[in-house]
C-alpha cells in the first residue's frame, strides 16, 4: 500500500526531525508564553537563552499555543509535565484556568513560576511582575525631571478617570513629588485612551499653559497622541512628551524629538529574570515564600511580598540610543 507508506514516511520524517531535542542532564526550563509569534515573547525567549548561556547547564524550552487560549496552554503544560521538565515559567492567558494543570505540575515536583501575566497564587510558587506601582510612579516623573534640570511645569495626560492602573501610578507619582522640588504638576487631564480625545486634551494643555515643559502620559495611547499634538503645534523642543509607551509606536516621536525618552518593561530582562528564578528554585533549592529574596543574575534579586509576588525592576528607559533595537520587537 504505497499511500499508507507515504503517510507513515511523513510521520517518521516529522518524528525524526523533532527527535533531535537534547536530553542531557541539563536543568530543563520551559518558558511558556501566551502565544508563539509575538515579538514581545520572542524577545523574552532571547533573554531566557541569555540566562541559559550564563548558567551553562540549562536547556530552555520556548513554547506556547498558536492562539492565546487557556486550553492551548493547558495542552502545552500537560506535554511539559509528561516530559518531566524541571521548571515551568508561564505567562498565563487565564489566571484561573491554568491552576489545575499547574497544581498537577507542582505535585510532580516541577517548579512553577508565572511572569508578566500572573497565575492565581495556588497555581504557582511565585509571580514575577515586570515592575511595581511605586517604581512606575517614580519613573514617569523622573523621566520628565531628567530633561528639566532647572525645573518647570508639567501636566499629566491619563487614560480615564476610572482607570485603576493609571490612577495608582499617578498617586504613587504624587507621593514622590517631594524628591523633585522644582517640578510643578499644573494639571491632570483625561484622554479616555482614545487617540482623538487624547490629542485634543494635549492640544488644550499647550494652549492653557503656554510655558508647559513636559506632558507625562502613563498610557500607550495617550503618549502617542500627545507626541503628535506637540509635533502639530510646532512645539518640538519646548514640550517633551514622556510616560509609558511601546517602542514600535513611539519610534517616530523619538525620531522627531517630540519625546526625549519614555519607559516600559524590557521583555529581554523579563525572560532573563524568569529563567534565573526558575533555575534558583529548581536547582539551588531557593524557597519561594513570602519575604524571601531570590537572586536573578544581572537583574539583582527579587523580593517577594505576602502573595509571593515581586517586582523585577524600574521600567526600562527607551530613547534615541536604543529605540532602533527595540522598535521591531514590540
Amino acid at each position: 500500500m504505497s499511500v499508507m507508506k507515504r503517510v507513515l514516511t511523513t510521520v517518521a520524517a516529522v518524528a525524526t526531525f523533532a527527535a533531535g531535542a537534547a536530553q542531557a542532564e541539563d536543568v530543563r526550563i520551559a518558558l511558556v508564553v501566551k502565544a508563539l509569534g509575538i515579538g514581545f515573547f520572542e524577545a523574552a525567549a532571547k533573554g531566557a537563552e541569555e540566562a541559559a548561556s550564563e548558567l551553562g547547564d540549562v536547556e530552555i524550552i520556548y513554547t506556547g499555543p498558536t492562539d492565546t487560549t487557556a486550553e492551548g496552554q493547558i495542552e502545552v503544560i500537560n506535554a511539559l509535565i509528561a516530559q518531566n521538565v524541571d521548571a515551568i515559567a508561564v505567562s498565563a492567558n487565564d489566571a484561573d484556568a491554568l491552576v489545575p494543570a499547574l497544581k498537577k505540575a507542582m505535585q510532580r515536583g516541577i517548579t512553577v513560576i508565572s511572569w508578566d501575566s500572573g497565575v492565581a497564587p495556588e497555581g504557582r510558587q511565585l509571580h514575577l511582575n515586570p515592575s511595581s506601582n511605586p517604581l512606575i510612579g517614580n519613573m514617569i516623573i523622573k523621566l520628565a525631571a531628567d530633561h528639566l534640570p532647572e525645573g518647570g511645569d508639567v501636566a499629566v495626560l491619563s487614560a480615564t478617570t476610572t482607570s485603576t492602573n493609571q490612577n495608582i501610578w499617578i498617586e504613587e507619582m504624587t507621593k514622590v513629588m517631594g524628591d523633585y522640588p522644582d517640578i510643578n504638576v499644573v494639571s491632570t487631564v483625561y484622554g479616555d485612551d482614545l487617540a482623538d480625545k487624547s490629542y485634543r486634551e494635549a492640544t488644550g494643555l499647550m494652549q492653557t499653559y503656554p510655558d508647559l515643559d513636559a506632558i507625562i502620559a502613563p498610557t500607550s495611547v495617550g503618549i502617542v497622541a500627545a507626541a503628535q499634538a506637540v509635533v502639530d503645534a510646532g512645539k518640538v523642543g519646548q514640550v517633551n512628551v514622556t510616560g509609558l509607551g511601546l517602542p514600535s509606536e513611539m519610534a517616530g516621536a523619538i525620531e522627531s524629538g517630540a519625546s526625549q525618552s519614555f519607559a516600559i518593561w524590557n521583555p529581554i530582562d523579563l525572560g532573563y529574570s524568569a529563567a534565573m528564578l526558575a533555575y534558583e528554585i529548581s536547582k539551588n533549592g531557593a524557597e519561594a515564600a513570602p519575604g524571601a529574596e531570590i537572586p536573578m543574575g544581572r537583574m539583582g534579586s527579587l523580593k517577594l511580598d505576602d502573595n509571593s509576588e515581586g517586582a523585577m525592576a524600574d521600567p526600562f528607559v527607551y530613547d534615541a540610543s536604543n529605540i532602533d533595537a527595540f522598535k521591531s520587537i514590540f
Binding site: 523533532a18 531535542a21 487557556a70 492551548g72 506535554a79 487565564d94 484561573d96
Partner: protein, 331 residues
C-alpha cells in the same frame, strides 16, 4: 458513478466500498504507526498517566464530533459549536454566582446547549436557510452574548464537586471524560449504524428529495440532529468548564474547526451521505496522539497545525486519487 448506484449506501459504492472498508483500517494503521513512532521518539510517551493526560486533548472535541458527524452526513453543518460552549459556560457561571449547585450547573449547561441547537434548527429547518450561513451567524451571536456578559472578566469559584467532570478519574488513569467519550461513541455508533433513524440520516444526506418521497420526515430529523449537536456542545461545555475551573468568553475559541477536521479525517464525506462513527473515533485518537506526541517533542504549535492540515488534505485527496488511479488502470 451512475444514478442507478444511488441506493442509500452508508458507504461509497462499488470500488469505493472496498476502499472505505479499508478506510478505518487505514486510519487505524496510521494511529498505530503514530503510536509506535511516538514511543521511539520520546521516552516519556509510554506512560499510563501521560497517555491519560493526552486523552484530554480530544475527548471534549470528540463528543461534539459524534453529533457533528451525523449532521454532516445528513448534508448540514454547525459551525457555532464552540460559541455554544462559550454561551453555555457563561450561563453556568452566572448560575454559579446565583448559588446554583453542581447538579443545577450541569442541567443549565446542557439546557443552554439544547436551546442554542434549537435556535439553529429553527432557522435551518423551518425557514429553510443554508446551515453554513446560519451557524456562521450564530457563531458570532452566541459568543457575542458571552462577551457582553463577561467583558474581560471571568467567572471563577465553581463548587469543588463540579471539578469531577473535567478532572475526575473513574478508575486509576481512566478519567471521567474518557469513559463518557467511550459511552457516547458506543451510543452514536449504534444510533447511526443500527437504527432506522441512522438509515434515514444517510438517505437524507444522499438525496433529501428522494428521502422525503420515501416518507422520511427530513426536516424533523434535521431538527433533531441540530438539537443533538447543541446538546453535545453543552456536554462539552460542562466538561471543559469543569476542567478549567473558570469561564472566560474566549473559552474554546476555534474549536469548531478542530471538530470538523476530526469528522472529515474520520472519513465522513463533507458533502454528506457517507461516513462512520468508528472512523471518527479513530480520527479523534489520531489527532490526540499527534498533538500530544509532537507536544512531547516540543514541536511548536504552528508546526502541529501544519501537520494536521496536511493530514486532512491528504485524507480528503486520497479517495479521489484512488479513483483516478483505478480508472486509469481500467482503461
Amino acid at each position: 458513478m451512475s444514478l442507478a448506484d444511488r441506493h442509500i449506501p452508508d458507504r461509497l459504492t462499488g470500488r469505493g466500498a472496498q476502499l472505505l472498508r479499508s478506510w478505518e483500517t487505514l486510519l487505524l494503521l496510521v494511529a498505530v504507526g503514530i503510536f509506535v513512532l511516538n514511543s521511539f521518539a520520546s521516552p516519556y510517551f509510554l506512560n499510563a498517566w501521560n497517555l491519560s493526560d493526552a486523552t484530554f486533548n480530544f475527548t471534549e472535541k470528540a463528543m461534539i464530533a459524534f453529533a457533528m458527524a451525523l449532521l454532516i452526513i445528513s448534508g448540514e453543518i454547525d459551525l457555532s459549536v464552540a460559541s455554544i460552549i462559550a454561551l453555555a459556560s457563561t450561563a453556568m457561571g452566572l448560575a454559579m454566582q446565583w448559588g446554583a449547585g453542581t447538579s443545577e450547573l450541569v442541567l443549565i449547561g446542557l439546557l443552554v446547549g439544547l436551546l442554542c441547537g434549537a435556535f439553529n434548527a429553527v432557522f435551518v429547518t423551518v425557514l429553510g436557510l443554508p446551515s453554513i450561513v446560519v451557524t456562521i451567524g450564530t457563531m458570532s451571536l452566541f459568543r457575542g452574548i458571552s462577551y457582553i456578559i463577561l467583558g474581560d472578566g471571568a467567572f471563577r469559584g465553581y463548587p469543588p464537586s463540579f471539578a469531577y467532570f473535567g478532572q475526575g478519574y473513574v478508575f486509576w488513569v481512566i478519567s471521567f471524560e474518557l469513559v463518557l467519550f467511550a459511552l457516547l461513541a458506543l451510543l452514536y455508533g449504534v444510533v447511526l449504524h443500527k437504527t432506522n433513524f441512522g438509515r434515514a440520516i444517510f438517505a437524507i444526506g444522499n438525496n433529501p428529495t428522494a428521502a422525503m418521497f420515501s416518507g422520511i420526515r427530513v426536516q424533523r430529523i434535521k431538527f433533531i440532529l441540530f438539537l443533538l449537536t447543541g446538546l453535545m456542545s453543552g456536554v462539552a461545555a460542562v466538561c471543559l468548564t469543569s476542567r478549567l475551573g473558570s469561564t472566560r468568553p474566549s473559552i474554546a475559541t476555534g474549536m469548531e474547526l478542530e471538530v470538523v477536521t476530526m469528522v472529515v479525517l474520520g472519513g465522513v464525506n463533507i458533502l454528506g451521505g457517507s461516513g462512520s462513527i468508528p472512523g471518527v473515533v479513530i480520527a479523534a485518537c489520531v489527532m490526540g496522539l499527534v498533538t500530544f506526541g509532537l507536544g512531547l517533542l516540543n514541536v511548536p504549535g504552528i508546526v502541529m497545525s501544519i501537520f494536521i492540515g496536511l493530514l486532512l488534505i491528504g485524507v480528503i485527496a486520497l479517495p479521489r486519487l484512488w479513483r483516478l488511479w483505478s480508472q486509469r488502470r481500467k482503461t
